[in-house]
Each structure stands twice: as C-alpha cells, then as structure tokens.
C-alpha cells in the first residue's frame, strides 16, 4: 500500500468539496441549526434563550441523528459508481494504484471534508456560546462534536459500500435513501415493536446489544450517557446497562461501523 497514492486521491476529493463550497454549505447548515436549537429550543416550554449545555446537546443529538447520516450518504453514494458512470474510472485504474488505494483515498478525502465541515460548523457554535460555557460544558460539547464526526464517518462508510454495489447512480441513491430510512427511522421502531409484541418477555436482555447494531443508536447512547442530567430525560438509562455505556467501548463499536462497510466495499471492488 502506498500512502502517497492514497494521499493524492484523498486530496483531490477533499479539495473538490472545498472548491465547490460543499464544506462551507454543510458547515453553515450545522451552525445555523445548532444556534437556532440553542436559543429557541425551549420555545415550546415558553422560554427563549440559551438554557443549559445539557439541554442544547440533547436537542442537537436529535437533529444530528437525522441530518448527519443523510449528509454522509449523499456525500458518498456515488464515490465509485459515479466515476464508473461518467467513464473516468478506467483511466484512474490504469494508473499505478491498487483498487484498495483508490477506495481508501476516496473515503479518506470525503471523510476529511465531512469531518471538517462538522467541526467547523459546530465549532463556531461553541465559540458563540463560549461565554456561557464552563470547562465541563465545553468538554461535553467537544464529545458531542467528536461523536457527530464518528457518526458521519460510519454512514459515509456505508455510502461508499453502496457505491461499489450499485450498477448506476440512480440505484445507488435509492440504496442510500433506503439505508437512511432503515437506520434512522425504522430500526428503533422494529426493536420497540418486537419488545411490545413479545410483551417484553423475550429480548429484554439482548435489547441493549441490538442497539449497537445501529450506528445512530450508538451515537445517541454515547451522548446521552455522557450527561447525567440528560440520562434521566430519556428512558434509556433504565434499559441500558451501565457497563455497556463506556465511551471507549461505544467508540470502538463506532470504529467497527466505520471499518466493516469499508471492508465489504473493498471486497466487492477488488475485481
């Protein structure tokens, strides 16, 4: 494996996203949404203005869980199939690079663009709010940003996997949207439905482990268990064993969610 080749490919992807203002647009979306939530998130309760970092993060988690997977899937779904459909893939593959280097280079370049816009977007929010945040709160917010990046990288990995399976861009976009529906909307409903239908008799003990099968849930747990005040806001604390809620363990699960789809993509793309 030649790092130089991977860096060249990643660099092109990253600068493409900087130049076409993708990074700027996504960062702005994050900043605007986060500020709106921070200041107006409590409007339903009759209050306006920044309340607490716990409350803000809890609201942001709900936003990020919808938005980041969608953005990541849109960013990566045509990474390979797009090159193939445009007709530029053959020329790339005739270069002295391996298919794995091409895949990894593309992933890393897109990942850098996504991470950069996430950190810039939410980082700006942290700067705006910094007067109202103490060190602990900043630490929590930093954890939230980091986990948002990991969530994005996991879904980007899924997107790149889709881009190696789909026969054309249209199908790839369909598969990406289906993945979003499944992980963001359907998965939790299925689990809950399963619990309710069985009257909670079966699956109660494995329920927390099943949550690990969805990177969006891993993200939720990561953030909610970091905040004592928030934990009680969600019923999750009652079903989720403390031992599983170690940040490093959940971080490892996220890392697996990043590596596994990429591995499948590499297997699929090897020929």
């Amino acid at each position: 494996m030649e790092i130089r080749q991977i860096a060249t490919l990643a660099g092109k992807e990253f600068w493409d996203r900087i130049r076409n203002r993708w990074v700027l647009a996504v960062a702005l979306v994050f900043t605007v949404f986060a500020l709106v939530i921070a200041y107006f998130g409590g409007a339903q309760q009759g209050t306006v203005g920044f309340r607490s970092i716990e409350f803000t993060i809890a609201s942001l988690v709900s936003l990020v869980i919808y938005l980041v997977p969608l953005i990541a899937l849109v960013l990566g779904f045509d990474a390979i199939v797009g090159e193939r459909e445009r007709g530029s893939l053959d020329l790339l593959l005739s270069m002295p690079i391996t298919r794995f280097e091409l895949l990894l280079g593309k992933y890393l370049g897109l990942a850098a663009a996504l991470a950069f816009s996430t950190i810039a977007g939410f980082g700006l929010v942290a700067v705006v709010l910094s007067a109202q945040l103490d060190l602990t709160a900043l630490f929590h917010f930093f954890g939230f940003m980091l986990s948002s990046v990991l969530l994005g990288l996991a879904f980007l990995s899924l997107a790149v996997m889709v881009s190696t399976f789909a026969a054309d861009r249209t199908r790839a976009s369909g598969m990406a949207i289906a993945l979003w529906f499944f992980f963001v909307l359907v998965f939790d409903l299925l689990l809950l439905g399963g619990l309710v239908v069985t009257g909670g008799k079966y699956g109660g003990e494995i329920f927390p482990y099943l949550l690990l099968l969805n990177p969006a849930d891993v993200f939720r747990i990561l953030n909610i268990f970091g905040l004592d005040d928030v934990r009680t806001l969600y019923g999750l604390a009652t079903v989720f064993p403390r031992a599983l809620a170690e940040p490093w363990l959940l971080g490892l699960v996220m890392a697996a969610w990043i590596a596994a789809p990429l591995g499948v993509a590499a297997w699929r793309f090897r020929r």
Binding site: R4, Q5, T8, L9, K12, D16, R19, N20, R86, G87, S88, D90, L91, L92, L93, S94, M95, P96, I97, T98, R271
Partner: protein, 313 residues
C-alpha cells in the same frame, strides 16, 4: 501464408504478448481467443468497426477487465499479477472518449495524474504545450471543446515518459490539422523507442503510419501484418485502367486473350482489366507490348478499406 504474427526482423521479447485472450459476457464473446504480439518500439494499429472488441481487448491488456481465459503479459508481467503496478508506471493510456474532471483546469488535471504516476509536476506545463493547449492551461476542462479534451487526454498519457502507449481511438474529435500534429508527436515517440498500440476505424488515417496492424471483427483477430502483407493475404484482384489512342478495344482483347485475366470491358474512355495479383506482371508486359497504342495506364491496388471489409464481412 507467411508467418506474420511476429514482427519482421524483430527477435526481442515482445512488449505486449497476448495469448488466447477471451472475454465473455454471458453468451456474448466480446473478445474471442485473441493472439497478439507487439515488438519493442513498434507502432501497431488495431482496426475494427465499433463493437468489434477493440476497447475490451485494450482494457484487458491494461488489466482493467479480467480475462475469462488466456494469458496477457505487458513487458513480461502478467497484467493480473501484483507486480503489474511497476509496469503501470511505464504505461500511458488514452481511453476511448476520454472523460476528465470538469471542475479542474487543464493544468490541475495533469498535475493530479502526474502525482499518481510519480512524474514531476514540472512535466505538466511542457506536456500541455506539446499538445497545443498551453493557452488553455488555466481554463476549466468544463469549457474545453471535444478536441481539446482529447488533446488533454493525450497529454495525460504522455506524463511520466511512458515506454508503452495504449491509445484508444486517439484522433476522435480532432480536426485534420490536429491529427497531423498528433502523428508528428507519435513519430517523435517512435524515434525514442516507445512501443505504441492504437485503435482506429479510420483506415486511411493509419494505414500509412503504423508498422503493422491487426484487423479485428466479432471479437477475433482476422489478420495481422503490414499493409502489404494483408493485401497479399486477401489476394484481392487488382484493376488496370488503360486509355487507348484509338478504338482498339478488340485489338487489346486479342492481345490479352491468352492471359489469366478475370475480366475485360470497355468503358467510356478507357478499358478496364481485372486480374489476380500473381498475373500482374504478365498483364503489364502484355499491355506494354502494345506500345504507343496505349496513352495511359493506371494500376488500382485494393485499398486497406477493401481488405478490411473483405475480412470483416
């Protein structure tokens, strides 16, 4: 029939060696048992209509499509082997209908490919100049015409001083002037010993410019050789177009009567005589014996076009 699968007077190991290369897509045999050798420094042409299998064969030779069967070696290395990366550094490839990145400028495009090929960035400017795009170096490829894209694609193929060039329909979209310049560059590369294989369906364009050529149809190589060898292999009849001083058609017919000719007929202002290649000299001597009765004489050799369509049909 002469053994024309080997380059004349060349005994060095072939740079491109294809044996029994086959590619099926389901029941379709896109490439069907192709044998081909290209010698070091040779300029080799691959001719065929669209869909003959040229581009598929090209992609197989570059290791982009795995062969269903057969063995393909470039510079001694199997194209599917792990050692092929080193060979790729010596290869320049211009795909058919090259697609580059619209959002990059011409110079940025070359810089990107130069980095991948491990070529110095300082090669990019001169490469653009070489294909006549220096003036458009900082314009986005999006604004390029089809011909300019093709030239940029060619400049890309020249990065890293390749020793082997694969050019798939390289003159598509070029105007006649640019085509001439393109072949001037190829002559320069040939003088430097670069091995080149190019495809075309414009026969007139390449028949005087390549050392040897192969005719491909329905996934198979139908014939390989120099233009002359192909003509001989085909054994196409040739025509004499004889202009006579007087209405001496009957006289001419009488003179040629005993010779192995295929046809003779009087046309408006000349007499047309058709014969096999091996009878050419006999017929010519007979016509010469007519002395000043003959005003003018043209020999019509079959064109490569005739050869090509003869094989392809």
């Amino acid at each position: 029939m002469a053994d024309t699968s080997r380059a004349p007077a060349e005994r060095a190991a072939p740079v491109i060696a294809v044996r029994g290369a086959t590619k099926h897509y389901g029941a379709v045999r896109a490439v069907d048992g192709v044998d081909l050798e290209v010698a070091p420094g040779e300029l080799f042409g691959l001719i065929g209509r669209n869909g003959a299998g040229k581009s598929t064969l090209f992609k197989m030779m570059l290791g982009l499509i795995p062969a269903s069967a057969g063995d393909i070696r470039i510079d001694g290395s199997p194209v599917t082997g792990s050692g092929f990366r080193a060979v790729r550094r010596k290869i320049g490839y211009l795909p058919e209908n090259v697609v580059l990145y619209d959002n990059l400028t011409g110079l940025e495009t070359l810089e990107f490919f130069a980095r991948l090929k491990g070529a110095p960035a300082s090669e990019c400017g001169p490469a653009l100049d070489r294909v006549g795009l220096a003036h458009a170096a900082r314009r986005r490829v999006r604004e390029y015409s089809k011909g300019m894209r093709q030239r940029l694609g060619f400049a890309q193929a020249l990065l890293g001083r390749p020793r082997i060039l694969f050019l798939d329909e390289p003159t598509t979209g070029l105007d006649p002037e640019a085509i001439r310049e393109f072949y001037v560059i190829l002559r320069g590369l040939k003088a430097d010993g670069v091995t080149m294989i190019l495809t075309s369906h414009i026969l007139a364009e390449i028949q005087e410019r390549v050392d040897r050529l192969a005719i491909m149809a329905a996934g198979k190589i139908q014939a390989v050789g120099t233009v002359q060898e192909l003509r001989e292999q085909m054994d196409l009849p040739l025509w004499f177009r004889v202009r006579l001083a007087h209405e001496d058609f009957h006289h001419v017919r009488a003179v040629l009567g005993g010779l192995p000719i295929l046809a003779i007929e009087a046309r408006e202002d000349h007499v047309a005589v058709e014969c096999q290649r091996e009878s050419k000299m006999v017929v010519m001597q007979a016509l010469a014996s007519l002395g000043d009765k003959v005003l003018d004489l043209h020999v019509h050799e079959p064109s490569l076009e005739d050869v090509f369509f003869g094989f392809s049909d």
